[in-house]
Subunit: 883 residues, 2 copies
């Protein structure tokens, strides 16, 4: 599968993982290339082409083969269906989720058993309590570090980036899958405040990618990039759905968290797969005799007839607002911890050396503090996350009875009682401690999410408010005949939804709690609290996932927040880069060299000529590099030399073979080597003929693969696989070139220099270059809001700004990001005052257009055809022309 | 507001309502124009410009004015916020919904009271039972017909079209709002099987449009088109949300029903407004003492501990599949009824004359059949829709006790009992009768939806299955210690969700039922049934809304259905129109005339020249017409004549005033008159100088308004208002022109003809024309799937296909629609076999590109600069160039 040499390099996560695949139309080129490759390879069966049947029937055991082929075709026709894929995905994920839950429960049980068995000696107990999670976390961190460092963390930020159209290398491979599953099981088995939701999104996506690769063995359906994105979106829904047995909430949450624009036609996919997955997940529990029938994961039994009083709503609103602040604080704290670790150079250097020390240390601290006979007794330390939630959602009221000591804390509720304090103190301590613990624990480099810990903290906060309300109004607020007591469990549900909504900036946590608890009676309080929490949190901090995206410097586009009106008034002309380098159709190789030196843009615009500036298309930087290096390549030089010699000699030795060599060279695609992305050094320096110095030659034969690698690197295909073969082939080709060179290189360096100077003065032949014939264009008047929409809709990386065919500027993700952030913070990029565009639109803008057109027109008049003015034609010139 | 002359014309619904506003960048032009107009008008207060403060301070009562201005500014800064708008929208819609519910309940109560009071005489009873709804429906039909025929029907199909970016005229006006609200109240008050969901979506959208126009009096925020679309999307959610008190389901349903691509950043808007609206709606019920606290609308009280057995799932799946077929049948039946009415010419002609006869007739039939002492006794005819639902969701089991006569049907349950038959018969009769009744009733031209009737039928079907199961397994299926009886109410919930999901092709009906019943315990059965129902229904029929879109011939783009793989393999080059007319930059007016005659395209591509075919932009057909007619206009002719005379005489009488006249004329925008859209007749015929024959002159002074009218016709602005003033101004201008003509027209028809021929031979001056400088471009290889995505994402109407700047074809909505439908039905447009593009991609496609580029390149070599070939440069020609 993945080439092993990549594993070491992949440690440099931030630098290596970002490869853009932004163009919208190149994907089709990539498909062609992939198809061509498949046809060229020829040894894999191509089952659906009718001509093959004929070939087979001419063979010896023809009937057998025909039969096999027909079976195969039937399989393909079924396997190709989306719903088969989705069912398989749901099934696999349900099994994974259930198996992991089982393993985690066993791990936690083992810890409890150890702790319980050693109750004679507190020290031994402590040792067991602390060592066990430390070992598990350290193992998890080490394991993922060695096998696949991409498995670290939540995975939702990365999936968001991938669904935006960016290819993150090595991110959806089997190795990462294994690392994530095992790492996550160990991490959660340790009892640390970590979640499984984010990682499950990632696991499901990997599962989908692997499954799609597996199914693509049966047919060609799974190679389409657009389809893969659709399937990944469904997979994200499955991930959340089978994690919480919450299909609807899962779909909505995954949409909110990963998408900017959601294709409604994918909706059923997510629902179908998530429902199936949740169903299987819960059926497994029934079959395992854990449950009697399919029910919610954290089932509540609040009364139905009078769930809450209208007058309790202010309390719910308070929970919402407080959760908003809390959520923002959590995101802030989490980011600050990461940044502190990175900035402190001594700490950083030390931790870099001993990678496993930090996880071990954090685990040690947290597990020490939760040690039940120690400080843990004040914060229900002995409860697992699941037990905590079950107790917090409990139907009874603790406080009133707790004070008068009537209420019996049965079973696991016992943990919340402390003989020398009351339940309020326990809850407050729990919330405060868990808050920083969770923020800290989620920075550990193991596969982990933050949703569940935050959810639990929110539930505890809600419970605290609920218990306070119950203590304040012992007989309920309602003053009518019936006495309806306050249900603190309902407050816990509201708090959980609100805080998790605030941290993730989602509204769908509301749906998740309904599905988790199996009760929807608190819908209005939950909705109110979630919306208020979102309003507060969104105005203070980015979401946790966006925060991680920024920390990891993934390519992203910030959202337009709550009602920023100025977005409608800022225009592309305010933010675009006007001074851009371009390639003209009739330029020389020397110009190409100059352009490559002077700019770092990945895509260069191709214009008709410097005067007309009519945009014809865009050409990738690597393509320009390839054009240049192929023009100056030693082989061409040798060929020129040899031909000169040959023409002198009259001999034509092995001409055809050389010709072939060159033809593959000139039609070479984009070399995948990063070396080429650097500005090319003066050609002379590269001449010494050591084999290692000829990377462009190395990329000769595998143009298709390289292209596929660069453009088509969708979730399913393994880039490194292609690269592996590419390297292999490159080596072969290189050897043959070296032979050629030894045969023919008889030029002196001076001659070479002269030859190269000659070559640079030639006009560029673009026929071998891949050109994107329709790059995305904007006009100067497009508003920032619309630009943002188009960029996120189409997943663009850059767009050229044109005015009636003429290139006038360029906007890239960077400018757009600056503009959005600049106007958010009020500084940064220059943003025009809100009414600026209104003010000068009266005169200048339309004029500018007309002028440009006029120029073009005049030029044409003079160049192409002499103006034939009729007798009355002179009148035209009297009319104003907006100049 | 709306000009009254439009009201009559608006009766020709299908023809007049469709005005496209498809371009993506012209909206910004429109904004400029709107801004310019506002600045020009000058008499409305422009509160945010600081210069005004200065002006005011110079007045007499300056302090007062400054204070007022500051207050105003504060108001604006608050009013401009989205959330204020959303709260107002939610509040208004909640009030509307509650008031309408109240009025409907009163109407129904009145009918019941009349029916009850007349129980001595069956005939009188029958008369009362039948007359009352007939009168109400007839009134509703007549009222909407007279006031605003746009109010007829559901409104969801139209909102879907509007949200796609098409402007439907008169669709979001106050008149339509009033007509819809009153018409709907009467229609629902009649007790017919009609729903209020669809109309509520429309009402909420109108409410949002009106509110936004109202708030725009305070500031300039509400004029942006993109923002209006966002607000309309939120309004759709509010409509559903406050209709069912189901905020989450409302948001999801409106997304599924109206959007193709959903902007997640709008998500909170919908949630916020829908939650607020639902909250107020339910709070009103509490304040009105209808309810004790906020609860669900159709609250159920199923047991929580064991909602259903795993072994009941097949029964739920059966409900789902049967509902799928039923839903498809409903859509089919509904469409066939409409088509039958339209096709039968005699019926059609008769109904056209007596518009109110059809509604009255249908109402008569349906109410006769539901007459409780008559046939109605077999189908619970006396129950209102709401009562029916309440009884169907009932907690108890009817069947088992019904057979043994133990069970007492209390209260309204009584209606389901029939002494001489059992509940099964009643249910079957109810389902069958209601099915066709609902399909028929929803074709009545009154404001009505089909969701609720379908929902009720689904519930009855579910109940039927549930009662059968209960009769089959009297003690439940579970064989363990506990006996859990089957809950038929749960089946009713499942059936309701499944059938309504099947008819509307949505999954979110599942969420709606949870919110309606206040219980989520049946989540898995509901989800399974809904998904199965969708799977079946989507493969058989379009959704009800899409079906109506097709019947009404609204501009639409069909969805890509469940997993059509061939979509990925069909390409733009297979479906595009290659033979398109274009305008070149250096063409003559005669060419323009030719182009207008030969094509009906609304947008003409503007290319550099016929040889290069480089696409520079697109120009609207009306613009071309305006250019042509301004060139041939009588005034220009007169001016030419006069100038000739003047230059001969040496006098320069009133030259400047004429010059001015002309300058406004030549810079005239798009004339808004439909007359211009017809191909222009030979110029000679238009010469006779009656004032009515010079429409182009009429559009001289109001170019900005006309442009605004054409481009900016967003939901909030009233096109006819602009047109009204336009007409007014036009008249003024026309008079002055006529004067001019009387003064100067001394040419003979022969001279005029000669002059016009001369004019036609002149080169076109494009400087006064509005050109879209960046029309959307595709390349030949873009897949159908991607094209569909881009068209729906950006709301495109057409796109040009280019190959490295060269125009090679065009794809419009029509071709795309044909391609999708063609490949769906397997006939129609030619669709290539799935692997076609793979097959020839190896050679031809990349070659085509290269060839095109090559040609362009060669041309440039020869035209612009002589090729300077170096000594080794000749080698280039030896390399293959893919020709």
């Amino acid at each position: 599968m993945a080439s092993e040499s990549e594993a070491q390099r992949a440690l440099q996560y931030e630098q290596t993982l970002m490869y853009g695949r932004y163009t919208q139309d190149l994907g089709t080129f990539a498909k062609d290339e992939a198809a061509r490759l498949r046809l060229q390879e020829g040894d894999t069966p191509r089952p659906r082409r009718p001509s093959e049947l004929l070939e087979y029937t001419q063979g010896r055991c023809a009937p057998c083969r025909v039969c096999a082929l027909q079976c195969q075709r039937f399989l393909i026709s079924k396997v190709g269906e989306d719903w088969v894929f989705l069912i398989l995905l749901g099934l696999v994920m349900a099994l994974v989720s259930w198996a992991m839950d089982f393993a985690i429960a066993t791990c936690l049980q083992a810890q409890k058993w150890m702790y319980g068995g050693l109750d004679t000696n507190v020290l031994l107990q402590y040792m067991a309590w602390v060592t066990y999670p430390t070992v598990l976390i350290t193992f998890s961190a080490g394991f993922t570090q060695i096998l696949a460092p991409q498995a670290v963390g939540s995975g939702i930020p990365e999936m968001k980036t991938i669904l935006r159209g960016v290819v993150l290398k090595e991110y959806l491979t089997l190795k990462t899958f294994v690392a994530k599953v095992i790492g996550l099981t160990c991490a959660l088995g340790s009892g640390m405040p970590l979640g499984k939701e984010g990682p499950f999104v990632h696991i499901a996506s990997m599962c989908a990618a692997l499954l799609s690769r597996f199914l693509s063995l049966f047919g060609g359906f799974y190679e389409n990039e657009a389809r893969n994105i659709e399937m990944l979106a469904a997979a994200c829904a499955v991930g959340v759905g089978c994690c919480f047995a919450a299909p609807i909430g899962g779909v909505l949450f995954s949409i909110e968290v990963t998408s900017t624009f959601f294709a409604v036609r994918n909706y059923w996919r997510g629902f179908f797969a998530a429902t199936f997955s949740a169903f299987i997940f819960r059926v497994l529990a029934v079959w395992n005799k854990d449950e009697e029938t399919i029910t919610a994961l954290f089932k509540t039994r609040f009364r139905l007839d009078f769930p809450f009083d209208l007058q309790e709503l202010p309390a719910f609103a308070v929970i919402g607002i407080a959760s908003g602040f809390g959520g923002a604080l959590f995101v802030y704290l989490n980011r600050k911890i990461v940044q502190f670790m990175r900035r402190q150079k001594t700490i950083n250097r030390f931790l870099m050396k001993k990678r496993l020390l930090f996880p071990a240390l954090v685990t040690l601290i947290i597990s020490t503090l939760t040690f039940p006979p120690g400080f843990g007794q004040f914060m229900a330390g002995q409860l697992t996350q699941k037990d905590t939630l079950v107790t917090l959602f409990d139907n009874q009221t603790w406080a009133k009875q707790g004070i008068s000591d009537e209420f019996e804390y049965l079973g696991i509720l016992e943990a919340w009682r402390h003989p020398r304090s009351n339940v309020f103190v326990t809850l407050v301590v729990f919330i405060l401690m868990k808050f920083w613990m969770s923020a800290l624990a989620t920075t550990i480099p193991v596969p982990c999410g933050a949703f569940m810990p935050v959810f639990v903290i929110g539930a505890a906060f809600g419970r605290l408010v609920g218990e306070s309300m119950a203590a304040w109004f012992p007989d309920g607020i309602h003053t009518d005949s019936n006495i309806y007591r306050i249900v603190p469990g309902g407050y816990a549900v509201v708090g959980a939804a609100a805080l998790s909504g605030a941290v993730t900036h989602t509204v769908s946590t509301a749906v998740i709690v309904f599905e988790l608890t199996g009760q929807i009676s608190h819908i209005l309080p939950v909705m109110i609290a979630v919306i208020l929490a979102n309003a507060v949190a969104q105005s203070l901090q980015p979401s946790l996932y966006d925060s991680i995206i920024r920390i990891k410097k993934l390519p992203y586009l910030p959202e337009l927040g709550w009602g920023h009106h100025e977005k409608y008034n800022v225009r592309v002309e305010d933010i675009m880069v006007r001074d851009i380098r371009y390639v003209t159709l009739n330029c020389k190789y020397r110009d190409l060299q100059q352009v490559l030196h002077s700019t770092k843009m990945k895509n260069l615009p191709l214009v008709e000529s410097a005067e007309s500036m009519i945009l014809l298309g865009s050409i990738e930087r690597t393509q320009v590099g390839a054009l240049l290096s192929s023009q100056l390549s030693p082989q061409r030089r040798l060929l020129a030399l040899r031909q000169k010699v040959l023409s002198e000699d009259g001999h034509r030795l092995s001409d055809s073979s050389i010709r072939f060599q060159i033809s593959t060279e000139t039609s070479s695609g984009t070399p995948a080597r990063p070396a080429l992305r650097k500005p090319l050094k003066p050609a002379l320096k590269r001449v010494p003929s050591s084999p290692a110095d000829s990377p462009p030659a190395g990329s000769a034969d595998h143009s298709g693969i390289a292209l596929k690698n660069l453009f088509c690197a969708n979730a399913a295909t393994e880039p490194t696989e292609a690269q592996g073969t590419a390297h292999h082939k490159a080596k072969r080709v290189r050897i043959s070139i070296v032979e050629e060179m030894i045969l023919g290189d008889k030029m002196t360096p001076a001659e070479i220099l002269e030859w190269e100077e000659q070559q640079l003065d030639q006009l560029v032949d673009f026929s071998s270059a891949k050109i994107d014939p329709a790059p995305f264009q904007l006009v100067e008047h497009t508003s920032l809001h619309k630009t943002h929409t188009i960029f996120s809709l189409l997943g663009l990386d850059h767009a050229f700004v044109t005015s009636i065919g003429r290139l006038v500027g360029m906007v890239s993700l960077k400018e757009l990001r600056k503009a959005i952030e600049g106007s958010l913070t009020g500084k940064g990029v220059k943003v025009r005052p809100p009414l600026a565009s209104f003010r000068d639109s009266t005169a200048s803008t339309t004029e500018a257009d007309t002028t440009a057109l006029r120029q073009l027109w005049d030029r044409h008049q003079h160049h192409h055809m002499p103006r034939e003015a009729g007798p009355g034609g002179d009148d035209d010139d009297d009319t104003p022309r907006g100049q």
